[in-house]
Every structure is written in structure tokens, then in C-alpha cells.
């Protein structure tokens, strides 16, 4: 009788131990699964980077930076027009987007609870989500049609509209973190409000604002869809902002979808340059963030 009970007990403990072992095993299996899935997701990134590097490095030489694309059938040629175009478009869109973006950001952080702030924040959120192709349509209707043709200027307006939300966000987030005492100290000294903002608050939060600007540049530098019907592309060198202009993403799109091997080569080179620029911008933003971090 007693022996039976002991047997039964050891049986139940055995079953329990087995159960615990199974649960533990499942636990480890799940962790392995998670790690496996995470590693798997980084593989496409490595493949893409590796492939572009391998294909692009052979296309890049001095001529690639200094000359224009050659017509089909001739090897060589470069993408100098696209590089100049990209720089011009981005400079113009920075000039347009930064003052507005920083201004809206200052307003949102200075009067966070007003009704205008609520709607402003909502609009900026919505603006950020608008598909880039829709931005292209809008700028076509707003700028290209009234001005009578595709132009570098219209492309810059499109990119500026896309940069705006992230500049606003980073400005607002940075300025919100600054302690109220900073502003109070300045105002207590009799410094007028606008000078307090421009000479004390904004310079203190400069690193955050700058990071936002750099990241927004790195985000729009590869945008193609809004440029399709605004900047349009141009096979020749152009620095006239009221004429169609080429840019790196446009040249990649046009040459990648062409059937010619030489043009594919140019597109790979352009892709490599674009990726390297984006990497550098990201690294710079990280350094700026770390080096000039606001500390209190």
C-alpha cells in the first residue's frame, strides 16, 4: 500500500519534471528562432550592399565624376550632370525647408497646448505619411503647370515638402528637452523674447536640429517618385533652376530600366555613390548627436 503511494508520487514528479523539461526546451527553441529570424532579416541588407559595391566599384573612375553620359553604344561616360543636379536641388530645398521647419518646430515647443499646435502637429504627421508620388502630383499642379514646364525649382519644392516634417519633429523634440530655467534665466535678465529664442534656446538645441536636418537630407536624397514629373531629368549639364535637371535617383531609374549594359553600369555606379553619401550622412548625424549632446 505504502509502496504503491510512493510509486505514484515518483511518477507524478517524473511527469512534472518531464513537463518542465519540455517547457524549457520550448523556451530555448523560441529564443533560437528569434535570433535566427533577426539574423535572416539583415541578410538582404548585406546582400544589397555587397552587390551594389561589387557592381558599382568597377564603374567608378575619374571620368565617371567629370563627364556626361555617352549615347548608347559608346562605353564610358559619367554622371556629372546628375551629381550637380542632385546637389543643386538639395541645396535649394534646404533653403526652403529649414526656416519653415525650424519655425514651426519652435512654435510647437513654445506653445505646446494651443489649439493651433494640435492641428499643426496633426498636419505635420499627416504630411509625413503622404505617399511620395502624391507629392509629385501636387507639385506638378502647384508649380510645374503655372510655370509652364518641368524645372529644378519644382523638384526642390517637392523635396522641401518631404523634408519639412522631420525637421519640425526634431526641432520640437530637441527644444522640449531644454529646461525651462534656461529660458527663465534669459528673460529675467531682460533679454527680449525673440532674442532669448534665437540666441539662447535655438543655439543650445542646435545639435538636435542639425541632426534632424541631416537625417532629412539623407532621406530625400534618394527620392525618385516626386522628381519624375517635377525635375524630370536632363541628359545634359544644367545649372538653370528653371530648366529640367537630372539627379542621381532619376538617372538610376532611367538607366536601370533601359536595356543597355553600359547604362546599367552607370546606374550601378550612381547607386554606389548614393548609398555611400547616405551612409556618410547617417554617420555624421550620429557624431553630431553624440558630440554636441545637450547635457544638464
Amino acid at each position: 500500500m505504502k509502496q504503491q503511494q510512493i510509486n505514484k508520487e515518483s511518477e507524478t514528479t517524473g511527469a512534472m519534471l518531464r513537463h518542465i523539461r519540455i517547457r524549457n526546451r520550448k523556451n530555448y527553441l523560441f529564443k533560437a528562432l528569434i535570433i535566427g529570424a533577426t539574423v535572416m532579416c539583415t541578410l538582404p541588407l548585406l546582400f544589397i550592399l555587397f552587390y551594389i559595391f561589387r557592381q558599382g566599384i568597377t564603374a567608378i573612375n575619374w571620368q565617371f565624376f567629370t563627364s556626361l553620359p555617352k549615347p548608347v553604344g559608346e562605353t564610358g561616360g559619367g554622371i556629372s550632370n546628375a551629381i550637380v543636379g542632385s546637389i543643386l536641388i538639395l541645396l535649394l530645398s534646404c533653403v526652403m525647408a529649414i526656416p519653415f521647419g525650424v519655425g514651426i518646430g519652435i512654435y510647437l515647443s513654445e506653445s505646446p497646448k494651443s489649439r493651433l499646435s494640435y492641428y499643426g502637429r496633426l498636419s505635420v504627421d499627416v504630411l509625413q505619411g503622404i505617399p511620395s508620388i502624391v507629392i509629385g502630383i501636387i507639385i506638378y499642379q502647384w508649380v510645374v503647370r503655372p510655370m509652364g514646364g518641368f524645372s529644378a525649382f519644382s523638384g526642390s519644392v517637392a523635396l522641401a515638402l518631404m523634408m519639412l516634417p522631420s525637421i519640425v519633429k526634431s526641432t520640437e523634440e530637441t527644444l522640449k528637452l531644454l529646461p525651462e530655467s534656461l529660458k527663465e534665466a534669459s528673460l529675467a535678465l531682460g533679454v527680449p523674447y525673440y532674442k532669448t529664442i534665437m540666441k539662447v534656446i535655438v543655439p543650445t538645441g542646435l545639435s538636435g536640429i542639425l541632426t534632424g536636418v541631416i537625417l532629412s537630407i539623407s532621406r530625400v536624397i534618394g527620392e525618385t517618385a516626386p522628381l519624375l514629373f517635377t525635375a524630370f531629368g536632363n541628359p545634359f549639364m544644367s545649372t538653370d533652376i528653371f530648366k529640367p535637371i537630372s539627379s542621381l535617383p532619376l538617372i538610376i531609374f532611367n538607366y536601370a530600366t533601359s536595356p543597355y549594359h553600359d547604362w546599367h553600369q552607370l546606374a550601378w555606379g550612381a547607386s554606389l555613390i548614393l548609398i555611400v553619401i547616405i551612409l556618410i550622412l547617417n554617420i555624421i548625424s550620429k557624431i553630431v548627436q553624440r558630440k554636441w549632446k545637450v547635457q544638464f
Partner: protein, 298 residues
């Protein structure tokens, strides 16, 4: 002391000008958004009037006959986006758990976080280019094995690239939500003898459900409007898609392909109407997603 007075007045003027400028800037952001909506609405009026509701169920797109039906593109957009979402969701939750639960800090977390961020930084057109030269041959050989027409390009290829592209968007939110999970809930479960897996499936995921859902919504919003990579990989066919391997077109890719060559008021405005539809759908999805997050974090 007239001098001081004048200075005082100048200062007040500047003060007022500064404050007003800020208000005008903020107003401008609202005005721009409204203007975008109104522009889209007015520009698609000719097509709304000429085609009416049939625009959404007519399956023929024939610019020569001025007959425009967006059904193939509507379906194309929905199929590619949801397929991409289905492919990427298990991975995005896995990465979110990896970064929000298993490896919150340390060198591993830093490396993988930066890599996922970089995934978001690669331009759409480069994804398309890479897909065209690497993914398309792979899909073609897969299609040959399966015995379907081996185009290579098509809805499946586009979804595959799209799933990689939207991954960072759902990961960044899900990771935040999972790492914000209050510790005492998890500790209570651990103290009852739960394993980590049980804590994740029975405590963390049910608790963060709404936040994870918001992450999916935001990723969906991205997928619906994604243009360049899809345009390059979907095959650009105007017929109704018959399966996931058939060539198709999405609303965004049709706009990208045809907008600058569109002639005729109705043609252009039909394309803009698709833009308007995209804008409204994506905006609604984004606002719902943001509201869900707000409720979760509040």
C-alpha cells in the same frame, strides 16, 4: 526720455513680429495640408464627374477610348501591400522581441538596430534596381519549378521587396512598445515559474497587442504608397491580376508610369483621382495608427 521710448517701441514691434511669424509658420503647415487635399479634389473633379463610382469597379483601363477603371490597380495595390505585410510581420515581431526583450542593451542590440535603420535608409529606386537584377532571376527559376509563366517580374516579386522595405517601420514602433512593457507584470509571471517564452506569449504580446497593431498599420500605410521599387518590379500590366505570380500594376505605379505622358483632361484627372484615393486611405490609416499609439502610451 524720448529715445528710450522709441527703443522700447521698436523692441515691442520686433517681439510682436517674431511671435506672429511663428504663428504664421504653424498656420502654414495646416494650410498646406488643406491645400493639398483641395488641389487633389478639384483636379480629380473631371474624372469624378465623368466616371462616377464606376471608376472603382470598372476593370478596363483604356486611355484611347477614354474608358478608365481602376479596379486592376486597386486590387494590385491591396494584394501587394497585404502580401508584403504577411511576409514581413513574423520577422518584424521577431526583431522587435530581439531588440525589446532579449537584447535590450549591448553591442548586439546596437549592431542590429543600426542595420535595421539602414534598411530604411536605402532609397526605393535602389531596392527596385537590385530586385530587377537579383530577385527577378531567382523568382523566375522558382516559377519555372512551379510551372507558372516565368516572367520573373510580377506581384510576388514586388511584395517580396516591399516586405523588406516596410520592415523597419513596423519594427521601430513594436520595439518601443515591447521595451516599454512595465517590469512588474513580467516579474509577477516569472515568480510564478513561467519561462521566458510563456511570459512573452501570455503577458508581453497580449499587453502590447494594440501597439503591435499600430506598428502594422503604419507599415501598411508605407506599403500602399510605395512607388519606385514596385513600379520597377510589378511588370506594369493593365489586366486584372489572376494570381500572385501574374504581372500587375498598383495605383502608385500607374501614376508614376503614365502621369507625365497623360493627355486629355479625363485621363490626367483619373490618375489624380487615384492619387486622391491613395492620399485619403493612407492618411486615415496613419491617423488611426497614431491614435492607437497615443492611447497605448497614455
Amino acid at each position: 526720455m524720448p529715445d528710450v521710448n522709441r527703443e522700447e517701441r521698436g523692441l515691442q514691434l520686433k517681439e510682436k513680429a517674431f511671435k506672429n511669424t511663428l504663428v504664421i509658420f504653424a498656420l502654414l503647415s495646416v494650410v498646406v495640408l488643406l491645400a493639398i487635399f483641395i488641389t487633389l479634389l478639384f483636379s480629380s473633379m473631371p474624372s469624378l464627374k465623368a466616371l462616377g463610382i464606376s471608376f472603382f469597379y470598372n476593370k478596363d483601363w483604356d486611355p484611347v477610348a477614354d474608358n478608365f477603371g481602376a479596379l486592376p490597380f486597386l486590387l494590385g495595390t491591396l494584394i501587394t501591400s497585404f502580401l508584403a505585410l504577411i511576409i514581413s510581420t513574423p520577422f518584424s515581431i521577431a526583431i522587435a522581441l530581439f531588440l525589446g526583450e532579449y537584447y535590450k542593451k549591448g553591442i548586439m542590440a546596437e549592431i542590429f538596430k543600426n542595420m535595421i535603420d539602414l534598411l530604411a535608409g536605402i532609397p526605393s529606386v535602389i531596392y527596385g534596381f537590385w530586385g530587377l537584377f537579383v530577385l527577378v532571376p531567382l523568382v523566375r527559376s522558382l516559377e519555372m519549378k512551379l510551372g507558372v509563366a516565368p516572367y520573373g517580374v510580377g506581384i510576388f516579386t514586388a511584395s517580396l521587396v516591399l516586405s523588406i522595405m516596410i520592415l523597419p517601420y513596423s519594427v521601430s514602433l513594436s520595439r518601443q512598445v515591447i521595451s516599454m512593457m512595465p517590469g512588474h507584470l513580467k516579474e509577477a509571471a516569472y515568480s510564478l515559474g513561467a519561462t521566458r517564452l510563456e511570459v512573452i506569449t501570455k503577458i508581453t504580446i497580449p499587453y502590447t497587442r494594440s501597439g503591435l497593431f499600430a506598428g502594422l498599420l503604419l507599415a501598411l500605410g508605407r506599403a500602399l504608397g510605395e512607388t519606385m521599387a514596385v513600379t520597377m518590379l510589378i511588370g506594369n500590366s493593365h489586366i486584372l491580376p489572376t494570381g500572385i505570380f501574374s504581372a500587375g500594376n498598383t495605383m502608385a505605379s500607374v501614376i508614376a508610369n503614365e502621369f507625365s505622358e497623360a493627355t486629355g483632361t479625363v485621363y490626367t484627372s483619373a490618375l489624380i483621382e487615384m492619387g486622391l484615393f491613395l492620399f485619403v486611405v493612407v492618411t486615415v490609416i496613419n491617423i488611426i495608427g497614431k491614435q492607437v499609439i497615443k492611447r497605448f502610451t497614455a
